[in-house]
């Protein structure tokens, strides 16, 4: 009997060793599986060179490759993607990229330097509206030349510190010349032909964007995943339910979970998910149309700036998780960001707000003794509608009575781009990269993709330009501090900075090697992501 028990024990131990998952095997990349994620609105318009909404690149980034990219293994580093290597001239004004050989588009057509030139010529055309890559590169790039089919050269106007980061952005991916010639743009799903690790399998409007592995990808070992399914889940309750039931494995970078949602998810799935609090490079704003009444009146813009209670917006609209008032978030931009102690003393941000609100009410009453009505727009996206209602409630206290119109996301983008709005009650913006220059170029430069009413101020433009050109870190910091002080104390600003939202990400523990990069947009190519068993 004793021998039998001993034998049984040995059998159990051996069986356990054979059956138990090999921990080391779990840490090795594994091929196969489909990752599921979600976006909370249908991108609708699919041309990444003309659009600026994050949902487009979160769902389709893996289709395209850029010349450069954030290293999937270490997103803080920038490495070649379609460019095998690159050199910079001694004056810092010429970048020459040597392209990979043997790269093919998803339809089998070979990739060449003329594709690069066609794509960048398109966005550098002054008449072409390119709110992301175009807005970053137009001020600094003079032209693109093809040296030979495998070499392309970018001539800069001046040695810009932001060029490499801009080129690594997901918004500066390379489109196919033959596709642009065939369709004229990339708005239709069949025009989404790239050289990226995945290709488009299906796009069911309002429902699903599905990618599958690109068998022609230049690195035959990648991607590890068979595909990526991005569900379009508009409703926050549906998103949370999908996360709680394991239907989706990953949050997109936006919207973040609130604290209570994160706790609910953790309670539902326990150790099956990793949840982490993060600051991402996204800034929440309220924007006014400078050419439409009543916001064409500088006093009214000043009143709005004074009346909006950023701290209340953060507490109620953002569940308390945000850095209010700041133009740059110290957590993301470090010392380049103006110290928060100073920011908190700025007009509109300072507490208590009684004096600012009284002054705002006086300014409104000066021009509109009975108050004034206006139309406010908001994209029906994430928690925007809630935040917009809060903004309007604050403005009602000073006699500005807004009627809120919630717009379907793509319609909202189109209206904003055409300047067809009076007041955008809330809109978040993610700069292309973590480089502080990007946020100012995006919102305050006349060419800026989110400077919807083309606000232009000579002094601000001078600071922005100086920041781009300045090579010394110390001097750049000084330039940006002055720029932040200048913009935060404008008498009648074009927009009100609410703050930098924070929140919670979740990730299913099966998802491996997924890293959030410093940029808001660059984490969704899933090139080296794999799924554990």
């Amino acid at each position: 009997m004793r021998r039998f028990l001993a034998l049984l024990s040995v059998t159990f131990v051996l069986t356990a060793l054979v059956v138990a998952p090999d921990a080391s095997a779990q840490d090795k990349p594994r091929r196969g599986g489909v990752l599921t994620a979600f976006i909370n609105t249908d991108p609708g318009r699919l041309d990444f060179q003309t659009e600026s909404g994050g949902q487009l690149v979160w769902a389709t980034a893996g289709i395209f490759s850029g010349l450069l990219q954030h290293d999937p293994d270490d997103p803080t580093a920038i490495i070649g993607d379609l460019a095998e290597n690159w050199t910079v001239s001694t004056d810092g004004k010429v970048y020459t990229f040597r392209l990979r050989s043997g790269v093919k588009w998803h339809d089998g057509v070979p990739f060449t330097a003329s594709d690069v030139k066609a794509g960048f010529d398109r966005i550098l055309n002054p008449a072409f509206r390119s709110p992301r890559c175009g807005a970053s590169l137009k001020p600094i790039v003079a032209g693109v030349d093809v040296i030979d089919p495998a070499t392309v050269r970018f001539q800069l106007k001046f040695p810009a510190t932001t060029f490499v980061t801009a080129m690594s952005s997901v918004w500066c991916r390379v489109p196919a010349k033959h596709i642009l010639e065939k369709y004229g743009d990339m708005m239709r799903p069949e025009a989404l032909i790239g050289t990226g690790p995945f290709k488009l399998k299906q796009y069911v409007r309002g429902n699903l964007i599905e990618l599958e592995r690109n068998p022609l990808y230049f690195d035959p070992a990648l991607p590890y995943l068979d595909g990526v399914k991005t569900f379009i889940l508009k409703d926050a309750a549906a998103q949370l339910t999908a996360a709680k039931t394991g239907r989706i494995m990953l949050s997109p970078v936006w919207p973040l979970l609130t604290k209570s949602q994160a706790e609910e998810l953790k309670a539902a799935r326990g150790d099956e998910v990793e949840i982490s609090k993060v600051s991402i490079n996204i800034i929440a704003t309220v924007q006014m149309n400078l050419s439409k009444a009543p916001f064409n009146n500088p006093d009214i813009r000043r009143a709005v700036n004074l009346a909006i209670d950023r701290q209340e917006l953060v507490a109620k609209g953002l569940d308390g998780a945000a850095v209010p008032c700041a133009l740059l978030n110290p957590e993301l931009s470090g010392e380049v960001a103006l110290p928060l102690d100073e920011v908190r003393k700025m007009p509109g941000c300072r507490q208590p707000k009684d004096a600012d609100i009284a002054e705002a009410a006086r300014l409104v009453a000066k021009h509109y003794p009975q108050g004034v009505e206006f139309n406010a727009s908001v994209r029906a996206w994430g928690d925007y509608v809630d935040r917009a209602q809060l903004v309007l409630a604050q403005l009602r206290r000073i006699g500005l009575r807004g009627k809120l119109q919630s717009l379907e996301s793509a319609v909202g983008w189109a209206n904003y781009a055409k300047g067809e709005f009076e007041f955008i009650a809330t809109q978040d913006h993610g700069p292309e990269s973590a480089n502080p220059a990007d946020i100012f170029s995006l919102l305050f430069s006349p060419q800026g993709g989110r400077n919807y009413t083309k606000w232009s101020d000579a002094r601000a433009t001078e600071f922005i330009d100086a920041g781009l050109r300045e090579g010394s870190a110390d001097k750049r910091k000084k330039v940006y501090w002055e720029l932040q002080r200048y913009l935060l104390t404008l008498e009648s600003p074009p927009l009100v900075v609410v703050g930098w939202p924070q929140g919670w990400f979740f990730k299913d523990k099966r998802v491996r090697n997924h890293r959030y990069p410093p940029s808001f947009y660059d984490d969704t190519t899933y090139t080296k992501v794999w799924l554990a068993q």
Partner: protein, 307 residues
């Protein structure tokens, strides 16, 4: 339609049989209605609930403790002293929003049903009586509109015209008008062939006079029934559109929108879901029961039973 009994959009039934007894003196009808109501306690109770909700809505500016959009409280305060039904995510008083929501709900319900049922009934009477290509065209249009699922039709209208209170009324109007046209048609066709209409024609009454003096009064009962049973339906559709985010603009307090907003916070603040749901439930149930009671009162067969 079976044996002259019409089934409405929610399965309500109404007698379509025209009879001169359906046009009694107004005093007699009122007295009978009051008597019949007392014999139907459910109907009476529903009327009381509808009256209370409507009064709350009408007097919302005076009754509601706070403005519906005032964000003066802390978010997610549970029901208690000071905020009887708690506060929402933005720190707004839920009770005040419910009271203001009642105003909007009844306004949208009454106006949309009033306009669409009146228009539909009158249009149905005229086209059915005169017949001809306009009648045929009307009926084919009604066929097309009724072939579409109601909520899909309403969603399509809202997607086309955009969010606003008036557009919700328009969408409901497009939804309800065909019902009225289709409902009065068999009544008019059958009245048209009755002896007293023949007699009116024989003595030289004009067609307009026949319609106004003889057809329209005979359709009053079905008009009232249609009106009463469709208000509850309109409330549900309005709440559904707002729930789906295409109805009432977000800054207007609407029960449907409140319910939709509560879904995210269902675990954290269940009162945000319970109270608007309860309001919609109470309003729709009461309006439907009241509609049934009114139908019973105006249905000659059921009225006899009630006696």
């Amino acid at each position: 339609m079976r044996d002259g009994v019409l089934t409405g959009p929610q399965g309500h039934t109404a007698s379509l049989r025209p009879t001169p007894t359906m046009v009694p003196s107004s005093l007699g009808r009122t007295a009978r209605a009051a008597r019949a109501s007392l014999r139907q306690p459910v109907g009476l109770l529903s009327a009381v609930v509808v009256f209370v909700l409507a009064t709350l809505g009408i007097l919302s500016a005076h009754i509601a403790p706070y403005s519906p959009n005032e964000t003066i409280f802390s978010p997610y305060l549970p029901p208690g002293a000071g905020v009887l039904l708690g506060t929402d995510k933005l720190g707004r008083d839920v009770l005040s929003r419910l009271i203001w929501g009642a105003r909007l709900t009844f306004y949208v319900g009454l106006v949309s049903v009033g306009v669409s049922i009146t228009l539909g009934t009158f249009w149905g009477i005229v086209t059915s009586y005169f017949g001809g290509p306009v009648d045929t065209l009307t009926q084919r249009c009604v066929d097309m509109l009724m072939a579409l699922p109601p909520i899909v039709l309403a969603l399509s209208v809202m997607a086309a015209v955009g969010q606003s209170v008036n557009n919700v009324i328009l969408a409901l109007g497009i939804l309800l008008t065909p019902t009225a046209i289709r409902t009065v048609r068999p009544i008019v066709l059958s009245i048209r062939e009755t002896a007293y209409i023949e007699a009116a024609r024989a003595i030289g009454c004009s067609r307009a006079r026949i319609v106004l003096r003889h057809i329209v009064p005979n359709c009053v009962a079905i008009y009232i029934v249609l009106f009463s049973i469709n208000i509850g339906y309109a409330v549900v559709v309005e709440a559904s559109l707002s729930f789906l985010g295409v109805g009432i603009p977000p800054d207007e307090p609407s029960w449907g929108a409140m319910l939709a907003a509560s879904m995210v916070d269902a675990a954290r603040a269940p009162w945000l879901m319970i109270f608007p749901a309860l309001a919609i439930f109470l309003a729709v149930l009461s309006l439907n029961l009241l509609g049934d009671t009114i139908r019973d009162i105006f249905d000659p067969r059921l009225r006899r039973e009630l006696r």
